[in-house]
């Protein structure tokens, strides 16, 4: 019995790492008396997975989880019980029982972020849009990433241009800029928002104050036949 959930992660709880979040949910299932399924074997563990782990320090309005239950309990009842034991800054927003579906981890292909940051000089919204459009006209945006291969760490160059989707200038308050941007996410290519911002800062002359960057994941999407859609 697979229950797919959307939950959020806000305020100080954005500083809880992925493994800590998993433990928080595990304990909360116990406290809320949720009949969660355990894996077979010598060291049984609860069957649930959170798609596309969020980096430390990023808030989210929309995180996905698949959860395997021993028996079906009404979604409202489930949410009420869980939200009572979860911290107020991690709450379940929606839940749907699935028939036959691919796992959430394999579905997620894009993530939509809101990123705000301070730049050195005042720019109008039009000017900024122009700068970003120019940048995205390039066929290649190369970043180097450290890859672990066994014990060795090797630098690998990667063209991330195709990993960047829509980019929208949402708000400009003097030097304080907020953009929304769609980035590739998941197994078939992944662009972390930190790497994206770093590349953008490198290729434009905005001079972003790196300490001022705030990020939030707004939503996540699956992809089919060149269309993106929400997996719930």
């Amino acid at each position: 019995m697979i229950l797919r959930l959307i939950f959020n992660k806000k305020n100080y709880l954005k500083y809880i790492g992925h493994l800590d979040l998993m433990r928080l949910f595990h304990r909360s299932f116990g406290r809320a008396d949720i009949p969660i399924k355990y894996s077979e074997g010598f060291n049984p563990h609860p069957k649930f997975s959170i798609a596309n782990p969020l980096s430390l320090g990023i808030e989210s309005d929309e995180e996905y989880m698949d959860l395997d239950l021993e028996e079906k309990i009404p979604v409202e009842e489930f949410m009420e019980k869980m939200n009572k034991v979860l911290p107020k800054d991690v709450q379940i927003i929606k839940g749907v029982y699935l028939e036959k579906e691919d796992s959430i981890a394999s579905l997620i292909a894009w993530a939509y972020y809101e990123i705000s940051f301070d730049i050195r000089e005042n720019n109008s919204k039009e000017e900024l849009e122009n700068i970003f459009n120019q940048w995205l006209l390039k066929e290649e945006i190369i970043i180097t990433r450290l890859r672990k291969k066994g014990k060795k760490k090797i630098e690998k160059e990667e063209n991330i241009r195709s990993f960047i989707g829509n980019l929208l200038v949402k708000q400009v308050k003097e030097k304080e800029i907020t953009i929304d941007v769609l980035l590739r996410s998941g197994g078939n290519g992944n662009l972390r928002p930190n790497d994206f911002i770093e590349a953008m800062n490198r290729d434009t002359n905005l001079n972003i104050d790196l300490d001022s960057i705030m990020m939030k994941r707004l939503s996540q999407y699956a992809e089919k036949d060149d269309n993106i859609y929400k997996p719930l």
């Binding site: 305020n11 100080y12 709880l13 500083y15 809880i16 790492g17 800590d20 433990r23 928080l24 595990h26 304990r27 909360s28 116990g30 406290r31 430390l56 320090g57 034991v85 911290p87 800054d89 300490d211 001022s212 705030m214």
Partner: protein, 615 residues
Amino acid sequence: MIDKKILDGILKKVEKPARYIGMEQNSVIKDLNNIKVKFAFSFPDVYEVGMSHLGLHILYNLINEEEDFVCERVFAPWIDMEEEMRKEKLPLYTLENKEEVKNFDFLGFTLQYEMSYTNILNILDLSNIPLLSKDRSDEDPFVIAGGPCAYNPEPIAEFVDFFVIGEGEEVTLEILNLYKRHKEGIWDREKFLKEVSQIEGIYVPRYYDVVYNEDNTIKEMLALDPEVPTIIKKRMIKDLDSMFSPEKMIVPFVETVHDRVSMEIFRGCTHGCRFCQAGMIYRPVREKSTDKIVELAERLIESTGYENVSLSSLSSCDYSELHLLITKLMERFEDKKVGVSLPSLRLDSSSIDVLKEIEKVRKSGLTFAPEAGSQRLRDVINKGITEDDLDNTVSYVFKEGWSTIKLYFMIGLPTETDEDVMGIRELAYKVKDMFFAMPKEERKGNLKVTASASCFVPKPFTPFQWMGQETIDEFYRKIYLVKNSIKDNKVTFNYHDPELSYLEAIIARGDRRVSKLILRAWEKGCKFDGWSEHFKYDSWLESMEELDIDGFFYAQRNRSLDEVLPWDFIRPGVSKDYLIREYKKSLEEQTTSDCREQCRGCGIVDCTMLGGGNK
């Protein structure tokens, strides 16, 4: 309240930021505007260590149950966090309301080990609170301290406004209530301190002066005010069942040292191991009833969602109805997949019975503490276990499928010879041989024997309080004697830094003059001394040299029995006569039986152990 935007910026840069955010399940956030007395509780080490301390959870809930009081937590920020905080000028804050520590009425430290003392100074400094008691004013919180190391308060007497000696459950509320009354009347800091000094168990160092002899020993301690007591009696809870026990525990987001419910089952210990300070100062034994323990354990499991209950005490196998307790807990918890564990087991037959019960749920590694390698030396320290106990227990646990065994020892115990030291190797090898003596088809798992040796530190209020510590060179010689003799990949030998134990010995039996040493070492950048990667031995040596403080005098010197000791004015319950008797018996290699068998007249008043058994 601190600037949260600055905090947000900092948290993005540091490791494990979840240590610094609070917000955990069962943490209590009150509106500080409606609070009469604000108490900041500090364990002077990093979050994960502090959060594993049971006393924190007790006091936190005890204080927060009172409507007028609040208790919030503050720990030592890790090196990277401290650096960022100093750079951004962000003062130290409590985890709950993110309020500056300086704005609290009390800052209370728990003293669990001496090598955390530099962290106390660092916490005061990061909170912008004057380091020395004499420099504080009404603008500052009262800095108070309690816990086992407070039984010798003198080495930090210059930093602490007053100490709480003994168990804190009752006296903490007495202090806060007194403070509330004074605040509601006409506030006079001096008057409050004078009145607080009248509460049993409270020591206010500023009302006393110490006079020294020419040879640097203490001549006498003088009370500077006729109203203050000349001896300080420890506080003790009489009945554990009616005492406050928390039904909730804060559940950290990050993994801590003990990720489980910690359930106290009794206080005190009857074995009388002569090196053990806790065994002396927490006397007499007082048990919680099985019904109370089961009830509390259930509530704690419910409120935390933990999957393991650890039955904690100084020697959990001694609980008089342990078998019944384990059976009851197992019945309640088995289908909830909740495990029960005992933190340390003695090597005797009773532990086998317990293992039979708890093994049903989980098989983890086992830890035993023979403490010394030879029977002769175990008699000297009165660790009442024999070679037979070890044989029986270990062969049993191997048959039952355990294969990871840890053995704890001390090096540098009084009267120790090379033969005794080599006994550590002999015991570790014996355990290995017992495993391979089993037929191949009966062996389960991969054998791993770990022998760990710490360097013995003589502690106040033990029969060894008069004894000099081994020199660092001797420690190393003995350590390598064992280390070089172990050549087997199934047996691992670990040891603690002798340098660290040397400093621990200086501070543990230090007097007021040692305050200066701790302050100087902190000024030279010492902090997190208990973490070997941060321990700056050279800075400590430099500080001693600059201040003309003789390490030998405090650590390695043998004291005569009539010397005035810095902690003599404190009454821990056990009498000095008893400690002297035990000291003499140890030198004659004579053991003293468990006080459940026969009363040894240790001096505890109203002990309920008379005639054997509890009550």
